[in-house]
Symmetry: C2
Subunit: 260 residues, 2 copies
């Protein structure tokens, strides 16, 4: 049995999230089906993040155990042959049995794109949340910075969150202005259910002038979901990267990539 680490990119629009669901098209279901086509055997895929319906990924990470003798580079191409157009394996490599995509992750990095436009923007609406009202960007930036550090994020967790411990360490929380877009960049050792989307929904309340910086700080310390803003739409959110200590991807590939 060999363990393979997969890095995945997908357009979340057509998926009912990552996790296997009966009767729904999910990232896990589509990838496990491709694994079965390629290897002839059913395999369970374990991903770092169970991204929600509509959330995109540029760097989701998963691992899978297989008896297949295919070198990782060939497995990558075979999987991409079977996978539909909206999901792709962008890196595959053999890792040790001690590698676990989910439990081994040190941190994850997400980006939420806010697009300031009065009109629909067909080239970007699929990947950004569009806002036409004026936003108080400096106030939003001040609030974004407040989330850095170790906090109890109960206020920014969905009431459907099933974990007991709501303390997380946010390593980066920054709102960057990029032309007509705002990019909320957030890296943490872990995220509660809907945490990024609730953070963005609350930052937007500040941007609209519905909430002051002080009220935002109060919402964080309240440990009460009702103190924060609404959950921002999924389409603006992308899982950019999952980071590991001694990341296997920082090493050169063990096998030469065959010429094509």
């Amino acid at each position: 049995m060999r363990r393979i680490m997969l890095t995945l990119e997908y357009d979340g629009t057509g998926f009912c999230g990552w996790q296997l669901q009966p009767d729904d098209r999910t990232g896990q279901a589509v990838l496990e089906e491709a694994m079965a086509q390629v290897t002839g055997a059913r395999s369970r895929v374990h991903a770092a993040s169970r991204t929600d319906s509509g959330v995109h990924a540029e760097g989701q990470v998963a691992h899978v155990d297989t008896d297949s003798a295919l070198p990782a580079g060939r497995l990558l191409r075979a999987l991409n042959y079977w996978l539909p157009d909206d999901i792709s394996v962008i890196d595959a490599r053999e890792v040790g049995e001690d590698f676990h995509a989910r439990f081994g992750a040190a941190s994850k990095l997400y980006r939420y794109r806010i697009l300031r436009s009065r009109s629909p923007r067909p080239l970007r609406d699929r990947f950004a949340f569009r806002v036409w009202r004026e936003l108080d960007v400096p106030a939003m930036q001040e609030c974004a910075a407040l989330l850095t550090g170790t906090h109890d994020f109960t206020s920014f967790a969905s009431e459907h969150s099933e974990v007991e411990n709501h303390e997380r360490t946010v390593l980066r929380s920054e709102l960057i202005e990029d032309g007509d877009e705002l990019h909320y960049m957030v890296r943490a050792d872990g995220f509660l259910y809907n945490m990024v989307r609730i953070a963005v929904g609350t930052l937007l309340e500040v941007g609209y002038g519905n909430m002051t910086v002080e009220e935002f700080a109060g919402a964080l310390s309240a440990r009460d979901r009702n103190a924060a803003g609404p959950t921002a739409r999924a389409r603006g959110l992308t899982l950019l990267a999952v980071e590991y200590p001694n990341d296997p991807r920082s090493a050169p590939l063990r096998e030469p990539r065959d010429a094509e």
Copy 2:
């Protein structure tokens, strides 16, 4: 009768190009249909560029004459209400009768995105041409620069081109490296049919090592379509902007945009 200047963004994937065709879904057809819905009358829309099937636009410009008394800002919102998700009016303003979207254009700016990746990239494949082979970028950049200036571009025109004069002035022709992408940026006073896509197809031949810089220069001076490379796929191409002398868009809007 009032003349309205429209700036348009569209995802070209679902359109059989811009120009009206019997039985085909085109940008012009969809926009004229929306005009009819909004104003109750048929109007002819004149665009600066007849973009091909699959080509995108961030800044196509068109003009239309209408008897409707709707202020331009309201017309914009009404059109966007009727337009499908893959096309949008991003600016609308009343202009003088002497404004002509096509004949008045001083220059147009296109971008062609080349994405260097071995794997499919679901978040970008819709808007970029994907290449997995190594590319000789400095040689491509040298060749891109050779297109600047006034030349007879017969070698870079489709044999279906119907114009007589193949001389055009290229004001900018530059290949920019941006991470894993290459952006070919080209601005000219006019373009022949398929000119940008043939230029990119020929630059890629240089990048692959199939053609030297000298052969590229020879292809330009040959005035023979067969001397140049193949036509690159439409999906990588976006019409970024159409520029006008005394651009009406550089003036403040004549009407206050009503509060929403």
